[in-house]
């Protein structure tokens, strides 16, 4: 496996640290004019999502982690695994377990495209697009004509996600939701 020396350190690099795949978030180069150079690095452990801070002497190196991100379409779940298919035309399928899917499970809609992080060829995490469009399957009755008023109520979406929506939203409507904040954005015009 390839390795990266401190001169190659930069944000986005995928490396192995203490046996775990990590992504480099920040790389701070420090060096007193005539002195020894150091790299102070922030990394996110892709297994635990914890952020680590480590210091390296100039010239030290880290092993590269076989981590790649690929776009895949969500197909279905069999209860144990969630199945995805590459969108590159190869039809190659990957099965992600509950740990890899994590909280993204509440944004998974069949035929939508997600970013799958593969570690040594196996799904490590599933990242939803920033916005998803999902149908309301349950909410208190709507109050027509109350569009300008404030106030909100919970609505359950087709995936099971519960978001806070304005009072006028009714069952059957399709909503655009920001997956980063879990917040309602707007109604999507239904056909």
């Amino acid at each position: 496996m390839a390795s990266y020396s401190t001169n190659e350190f930069r944000g986005g690099l995928k490396v192995l640290l203490d046996g775990d795949p990590c992504i480099m978030l920040e790389n701070e180069f420090v060096k007193p004019g005539k002195g020894q150079a150091f790299n102070r690095v922030k990394l996110r452990n892709l297994m635990t999502n914890r952020v680590w801070e480590r210091t390296f002497k100039s010239g030290e190196s880290l092993e590269a982690a076989d981590v790649v991100e690929q776009d895949m379409e969500y197909l279905y779940t069999d209860g144990e695994f969630w199945h995805f298919m590459l969108t590159d035309g190869s039809f190659e399928q990957f099965a992600a377990d509950a740990k890899a899917v994590g909280d993204t499970v509440k944004w998974l809609k069949e035929q939508d495209v997600y970013t799958i992080t593969l570690y040594n060829g196996a799904p490590l995490s599933v990242t939803p697009p920033n916005f998803v469009e999902l149908e309301v399957v349950d909410t208190d009755p709507g109050m027509k004509g109350d569009t300008a008023q404030g106030g909100s109520k919970p609505a359950t979406l087709s995936t099971g996600a519960v978001v806070s929506v304005p009072l006028f939203i009714t069952i059957g409507e399709v909503l655009k939701v920001d997956t980063r904040s879990g917040e309602y954005v707007n109604r999507v015009k239904s056909s």
Partner: protein, 322 residues
């Protein structure tokens, strides 16, 4: 990654003007003091032996000269001019240091280097203060010895702390196996970079002086309060290291010893040994007049002027865009 390269400059139009104005200020400053502006090669046949400075190798092929190095500083060439009787000189030079890139570093940068015949380190520090504070409008720098600075900020005595204790102290940043390959000065550099430097020059500009003799580089040394110290100084403003100056070593034998010691260190740390610049040593043999010299990072001075913490804001095209 195949992101298309950015063609736009990183520095704003305003900062380009600031840079032009700074160059004008520097030239006016030295013209008034009758210091001669010179130019020396950016591409030289030799690199430096300093274990912590990596030059950028060149691939020149002309007149029987092959290889060569982009210079890490114009020091050797300028000292040859001094030995040849140039009198006091200054230069705005482009210099190159491999591997150095960060918020305060770009592998290519602008260095203002000058030498004053007959000055000692104190006199040159006063001139640096005039130049810098005349430009930034800051208060006159205070002086602090390396030992005082490390003791007051880090709480350890850099001159007396046993190696083992120093290593233990450094374990807050490095694993024991990483520390195994780091010498005493390397450990002190760690303490300096991570603990002391950020605090230097916060209230007012600070000259750090009287470095441990092991960090003398090309400075004279003498005894101070029972410790061998170097006549070397650095100016810090807001935690930013601005310059590095010496009361220059003029003894060619001592210089030869330091070159050899550098190459021993290089060997020990697995770096290639550097061919010693014999022309520079010959100039010293001929006689370098007593002088002090200093190198000041112009990009960093500009950073302080425009109030940015990122060198990229003052460079038209930092490495990634160059």
């Amino acid at each position: 990654m195949s992101a298309s390269p950015v063609w736009h400059p990183a520095a704003s139009r305003q900062v380009l003007e600031n840079r032009a104005q700074l160059l004008g200020y520097v030239r006016g400053f030295f013209s008034e003091r009758q210091v001669l502006e010179v130019e020396t090669p950016v591409l030289g046949r030799h690199g430096v032996t300093d274990v912590n400075l990596d030059g950028v190798p060149a691939a020149v092929d002309a007149a029987g000269v092959q290889g060569g190095w982009l210079q890490t500083s114009p020091e050797y060439h300028m000292k040859r001019l001094l030995a040849a009787g140039s009198g006091s000189i200054f230069q705005v030079a482009r210099v190159f240091r491999n591997g150095e890139r960060g918020r305060r570093h770009n592998p290519e940068f602008s260095m203002l280097e000058w030498y004053r015949i007959g000055f000692d380190d104190r006199q040159l520090m006063a001139e640096v203060a005039d130049l810098v504070c005349g430009y930034l409008g800051c208060s006159v720098p205070v002086s602090l010895s390396y030992r005082e600075a490390v003791m007051s900020v880090a709480g350890i005595d850099p001159m007396t702390i046993p190696d083992e204790e120093l290593k233990q102290y450094c374990e807050q940043w490095l694993e024991p196996e990483q520390l195994a390959g780091l010498g005493r000065d390397g450990c002190l550099d760690l303490v300096m970079s991570f603990v002391v430097e950020p605090e230097l020059g916060r209230q007012e500009p600070v000259f750090l002086t009287r470095y441990p003799a092991s960090q003398a580089a090309l400075a004279r040394t003498s005894e101070d309060a029972g410790f061998e110290v170097a006549h070397r100084f650095e100016l810090y403003i807001n935690g930013l290291e601005l310059c590095n100056g010496y009361w220059e070593l003029t003894d060619p034998d001592e210089q030869r010893k330091r070159f050899q010691a550098d190459n021993r260190l290089r060997r020990a740390s697995g770096k290639p040994e550097m061919v010693v610049d014999q022309a520079f040593l010959s100039a010293l043999d001929e006689g370098l007049p007593a002088c002090s010299g200093v190198a000041l990072g112009l990009d960093r001075l500009l950073m302080l002027k425009v109030g940015t913490a990122d060198i990229q804001d003052v460079l038209a095209f930092p490495l990634e865009r160059a």
